[in-house]
Symmetry: C2
């Protein structure tokens, strides 16, 4: 499973978990996603844990998912390389 | 309220939310906490959102809180300056 739709506080969100071999790799990926967020002027939640990063995209302004969230999700996947 | 005890999946954790004026400041703080985690060989969960960072400390090995978690929580606060 890649991106999974989630409903939280009545808001539809798009969430994906990425696994890594250690904290450093997970941390580096988190920072890439944070850079992407700044470039896009659109900010997901980024949950960094040991060996795991969980990214959640949604659009605050509309309280749900916008086409842009799906684009940002795809761009997040491209950061994996 | 500073650090709040939380029980998640039957595990006691110590959690604190830090507010920031923008994403960049929140991101910078997240990275400081990640550096601390590497120094301490102890890793909290770090949730980075726009203007907010939520840090959660607990000790996986004992499935709960150890004295070290309270020490790391105090060290996290010191990173704010």
């Amino acid at each position: 499973p890649d991106w999974i739709p989630q409903v939280r506080d009545n808001v539809m969100m798009l969430e994906r978990e990425y696994k890594f071999k250690n904290f450093k790799l997970a941390w580096a990926f988190s920072n890439k996603v944070a850079e992407l967020a700044e470039e896009e002027f659109h900010h997901p939640s980024i949950l960094l844990e040991w060996g795991k990063v969980t990214i959640t995209w949604w659009t605050h302004a509309i309280g749900g998912l916008h086409k842009n969230d799906f684009i940002c999700a795809a761009k997040t996947d491209q950061l994996l390389d």
